[in-house]
Symmetry: C2
Subunit: 374 residues, 2 copies
């Protein structure tokens, strides 16, 4: 397969071929430091989600900046992170099937691995797989705090499952997984705060239920870039899984901040560079980044710092831009930078980060864990 | 990077790990033959779009079944096809930028290459690049037949550009590109027919204008899986670019057929195999194929042959299914097959086709041209 990078190290940004996934290293490094500063002294650990970047290199930089390890969404991502030297991984998901369980347990011989559960049969299978290879897996019971995805109800069912985990050889009960995805994207600050308060209240009840039964429940894991400050201040969460803060996509940037005068804490550092390949009408341009270069599941990308240029429609290899009067000087062959609506699926389309500094390509980093890997 | 395939040749379908891109070879081969039969004796050539499959292997099978070559959407796809032995390629798109033009012309020394244009400056650049490497490029003038994407207006502007092409050394004017994407997906048959009739009328006018000026205009290229029979019967199109017919996605299957009693001409042959990894509530299951395993730009995938199971929501690595009463026997660990809403972006997420026949894995074909390659 053709995994050629769209640039060479040392070339000017203007020479990078398109479409290309650009990483502004200065903005990215500021984002890394800002999250570390935010959590310093709070006692809250950062376990950033590697599904955002799928890069062992970026994971290592996060650990250098204070993260205790990373979150992953699947075994193949965790394998990539372990190969890259990460030694503490939580898979924030259920792992099902004999093949995957065996690979998961093999990883647990090389690194500290924890996984989420919401089913007693799955707990039994995890225990058998762990015992078979002599590994111990950390386990978080996932509770459904209102997202209606995975997880047991936030009641006695969670305690029952925690007891099952604790009673299973090869498994170590560590605590709770509680993630409310939709709340991360609630635009209005007060509504978002109210949602997270409801989440926290459910988590606290379940934690207390478990602790009152005499079991320890040391880890409460969850949180995302949209509401991490609320989760950090909750007094309940012990670690945060925010991932997108390093790149800051257009969707998260639409979240209202607590005070109108407040500045966005994180900067856009991830862009898709694209070329205008057709300029067929006064109010229209067509660029070479479509569905196969940029995710549109969370809305259309935003054209970075070009007032009046609006990305309105994507097909496989075309993006159609509506140009208001202010943008009508855009010419065929000009390059633009697009801020993805959602970073995670966008990164997953690319094989390389073209990392730049001062308008020069500084490094090419592979998207190591790209793909639908099992 | 980890491009491991989710199965081994010879294993049972039930052993394929998930998520995986499955190709039902029997259905796929019937689709290949049906399109060939449909066009036999009509004088219309088939130039199927390789952006659908991104596989040199599949392109070769299409040529074996009567295609004159393939369509591509970008230079990197065309490079992959030439490496795989395809000798006649139309890039149904504008190619802009010195690097890409030089690669395009290098290809034209190895195969018959044509490209679309909608701008006189681009024509000049193409000519200079072709002359610089001693190649000749075929050129189609793209006209905008109502899709509001690329293309010059379907009037004297097209004749002007055709003359510019004909007057440029290194270029060979071949005819017109006329593709109306939205019409391919118009559900109601009569409305779709009316749209294509309007398209055909515009194309005929431009063709006549060019021919009346004394130039030959031998090629009229366009058409897709949603309306190919109308374009084939138009008396104007000389070649069809339909791509999805080999796989038949859920979106195209929603098109109404000319007569209610008519059977879908093409069968679903492409699926994403997925595992139920959580079964947290009576009416809900969660599968391991989300945004990174299946495209949702043309609607949610359809759960194949499981009445009452509806894929309603995708996140990175989760798909949430609503289960009506008929589907409530689905269990944790069971595997399902999803029919993608849109094949093209789905294939682009995967590295391998797991090609099966009679419930056994028959072959693993790489998605050679996967990625946002320049």
């Amino acid at each position: 397969m053709d995994n050629r990078a769209p640039a060479e190290v040392g070339c000017r940004l203007s020479e990078v071929d398109t479409p290309a996934l650009l990483l502004d290293l200065s903005a990215f490094e500021r984002n890394l430091r800002r999250m570390a500063e935010h959590l310093r002294g709070t006692g809250i650990q950062l376990r950033p989600h590697a599904k955002t970047h799928k890069s062992a290199r970026i994971a290592a930089l996060q650990v250098e900046n204070g993260a205790i390890g990373v979150s992953c969404q699947k075994v193949s991502e965790a394998e990539c992170m372990v190969r890259g030297g990460i030694r503490d991984i939580l898979i924030t998901n259920q792992i099902v099937g004999a093949r995957k369980l065996s690979r998961l347990c093999a990883l647990a011989l090389q690194a500290r691995i924890a996984v989420c559960v919401d089913d007693a049969h799955n707990v039994r299978d995890l225990g058998l797989a762990a015992a078979a290879c002599g590994a111990t897996l950390g386990v978080l019971v996932e509770i459904d705090v209102g997202a209606n995805r995975c997880g047991v109800p936030p009641d006695a069912a969670a305690l029952d499952l925690a007891r099952t985990v604790a009673a299973t050889a090869g498994l170590r009960f560590e605590g709770l997984q509680a993630y409310h995805g939709p709340a991360q994207h609630t635009r209005e600050y007060c509504a978002r705060k109210a949602q997270i308060e409801a989440v926290v209240s459910r988590v606290r009840q379940v934690r207390d239920l478990i602790q009152d039964s005499g079991m320890a429940c040391p880890v409460i894991s969850g949180g995302g870039t949209g509401a991490f400050a609320l989760e950090a201040a909750s007094g309940v969460y012990t670690e945060l899984q925010a991932g997108s803060y390093i790149f800051m996509d257009a969707d998260y940037a639409r979240n209202e901040l607590p005070a109108p005068e407040q500045r966005l804490e994180f900067e856009h550092s991830l862009f898709v560079r694209t070329t205008i390949m057709s300029r067929p009408a006064v109010g229209r341009a067509v660029v070479d980044a479509g569905l196969k270069a940029i995710g549109v599941d969370a809305g259309m990308p935003v054209v970075h710092q070009v007032p009046g240029a609006h990305y309105i429609r994507a097909s496989d290899e075309h993006g159609v831009l509506r140009l208001d009067e202010a943008a009508q000087s855009l010419r065929l062959g000009e390059c633009l930078q697009l801020v993805p609506g959602n970073c995670d699926p966008t990164v997953n389309l690319h094989d390389w980060y073209v990392a730049f500094r001062d308008q020069r390509v500084d490094a090419l980093w592979p998207v190591d864990a790209r793909g639908p890997g099992c």
